[in-house]
Amino acid sequence: MLADDAVLFREGLARILADAGFTVTGQAGDGNTLLDLIRADPPDVAVIDLRMPPGYAAEGIETAAAIRARAPAVGLMLLSQYVEVHHALRLINEFDGGVGYLLKDRVSDLAAFGTDLRRVGRGDTVIDSDLVARLVARRRERDPLDNLTDRERAVLALMAQGLSNVAVAADLHLAVKTVEAHVTAIFTKLGLIQHEREHRRVLAVLTFLRA
């Protein structure tokens, strides 16, 4: 199900998702209409524009929260022209998985976007790579990231996007065991507590990168 006030974008997205084998069960131009549609027929995932009428601020997050309260099984994919760290932290904090936050640009890579939609539908967390790259590149006074090897940095960035060890391994063409070793090394070097669930892990890493 899709919600975006930009009609051309929304309809283009619906067409393209249908081509890619998704079933688009409904479209809405604002949050309240979307909520009504979802109540009538809950989809696997709702794709929601972050900035919608009436205020063009962060209405999408409010809509997402309302959906989560009424239909907790629906995955929530927020799209935006800008990705902001505080929104990402809020989404991870408040939603406990099954949530994604991506630049609108990402939908043009259909294969990757389709994968991300399915991950959100499964309950994973998906965070835009741009936002993570910005945080990793950020200059710090005494930078704990200096202690990481290039490989460990690459693993850290993918972890922060919500990828599981298996997914990180596939992305970097490494063995899962190797990735696990990297993850342990990263958490030790950064003094972070390891979490079993990816969602908790994303939160820990992003909070660390933000601090």
């Binding site: 022209q81 902001e84 505080h86 939908v107 043009s108 945080l135």
Partner: protein
């Protein structure tokens, strides 16, 4: 005098409103169109791949990548015009964004309890933005501290670096622009710049 100041205030407010509107128009107009076109191109890539036309698919995908680069540039321009994050989420979030982007490490403290009038928030934002840019460009600094604090006297904005000093207003420069903008809000830009660093400070009265 009072009349002049009121006129100047109206001019600055009108300028801000125009920039905000232009950002909105870019966001809802051109930017939206460009991501839509990129998305459609993504569809072409998919069809070409499905039809076995790998050359066309690769070509179209390269065009898509170029288009997204242009979109990213436009996004940065719109942000320079007026950051949507400031209007939506306030000074702390917007200053955090600037600090994240700074090539010199920034220690940021924001103590602002409530949303302030748009022209005050925008002015504080532009002070921080210009001073961070200057410190990175001119100071050869290793650390910048930014403090934004709200008190009875008003909103204090202070940016200090540990660079080489030498900051001074010059006609048409960023600092002069800040000073002019601040004057309209009844505030002064204090510049202390010596060989151990530069400190810029202002207190914007806000009732």
């Amino acid at each position: 005098m009072l009349e002049l100041r009121a006129t100047a205030q109206r001019l600055v407010a009108a300028g801000d409103a125009t920039r905000r509107r232009m950002e909105r128009d870019l966001h809802d107009g051109v930017q939206q169109r460009l991501v839509t076109v990129a998305m459609e191109l993504g569809g072409v890539v998919r069809q070409a791949t499905a039809a076995g036309a790998t050359d066309v698919a690769t070509e179209a995908d390269t065009v898509r990548a170029h288009l997204l680069e242009a979109t990213a540039e436009l996004r940065e321009m719109a942000r320079g015009l007026h950051p949507a994050v400031l209007t939506q989420d306030g000074l702390e979030a917007a200053a955090g964004f600037l600090a994240d982007r700074s090539p010199v490490p920034v220690r940021l403290t924001v103590a602002v309890e409530r949303r302030l009038p748009a022209e005050i928030e925008a002015t504080a934002y532009f002070v921080v933005s210009e001073c961070l840019t200057n410190a990175a460009k001119h100071a050869a600094a290793t650390l910048i501290t930014v403090e934004i604090r709200q008190s009875e006297a008003g909103l204090t904005v202070e940016v200090a670096d540990d660079g080489c000093g030498g900051a001074a207003k010059r006609p048409g420069g960023g600092l002069q622009g800040l000073a002019d903008r601040l004057a309209v809000l009844d505030a002064r830009l204090r510049i202390d710049s010596a060989s151990n660093g530069t400190r810029l400070r202002t207190v914007i009265p806000c009732g």
